[in-house]
Symmetry: C2
Subunit: 140 residues, 2 copies
């Protein structure tokens, strides 16, 4: 992947790439809500605006975390897929979900239970399912 | 801790609290560089501005991730400490560090090797050392 960051610290570099609330919410929607189209991301409860969404999707494609396919003449029909580095963010999101559920019990929910429990086997299975769904090779 | 967020999704809630590059860089500096004073945070290589730093430190205190102690008449002398929820962010930062080091090899560095390796025992020991250093009770 392209690296074009101000610091060589891994944490700082990671934050330059995904350290923005909307960026990780787009990844969340691709991972857990099966969203693949521009219009679907707009419908999330956090209310992302279409210009912020367009900016974050373009950045994710440029940084190699997401690919975009479809007819260039029909922007509405473009389909977005996670790449392997994008799918590899799952453990980061899982640990953030766990932290929030531990410290803000109001956020606990059945579908996020695997993260609260830190169920490594379930997280690995989820990652494998994302590879089958998003990677052209099916992750093989 | 106070929760005052737009969504009850744990990922969204987590991002509302720490999903900002500067916020996690302040936590990083407290965890790994032993920084406790306003002036020390200003010296990080990423070049945080003093107004952004003041804003993020106030937010971290308000949200209960950091405490501030010291003479109110000498703002320069205030000392910041991590709380247990702040220290509990270590696994989130560790998995972000690992992700960056795997996908951006230029960020690999000896002192972050424990995160690249996902060395759980070393991470737990680091967390325990932070408790001794930051919590009044010494984490006992």
């Amino acid at each position: 992947m392209r690296q074009d960051t101000r610091s060589t610290c891994p944490i700082s570099t990671g934050l330059e790439i995904v350290g923005d609330r909307w960026t990780l919410l787009v990844i969340r929607d691709m991972m857990f809500a099966g969203k693949r189209h521009f219009r679907e991301f707009l419908q999330s409860e956090e209310g992302i605006s279409s210009n912020v969404l367009a900016d974050r999707l373009a950045m994710l494609v440029e940084r190699g975390l997401v690919t975009r396919a479809g007819d260039p003449a029909h922007a509405q029909k473009a389909i977005y897929s996670l790449t392997e580095p994008g799918i590899a963010l799952l453990p980061v999101i899982a640990s953030l979900s766990r932290w929030a559920q531990v410290h803000f019990p109001a956020t606990r929910r059945p579908e996020a239970r695997v993260f609260l429990d830190g169920d490594e086997a379930a997280i690995a299975a989820l990652q494998q399912a994302l590879r089958r769904e998003h990677l052209a090779s099916g992750g093989r």
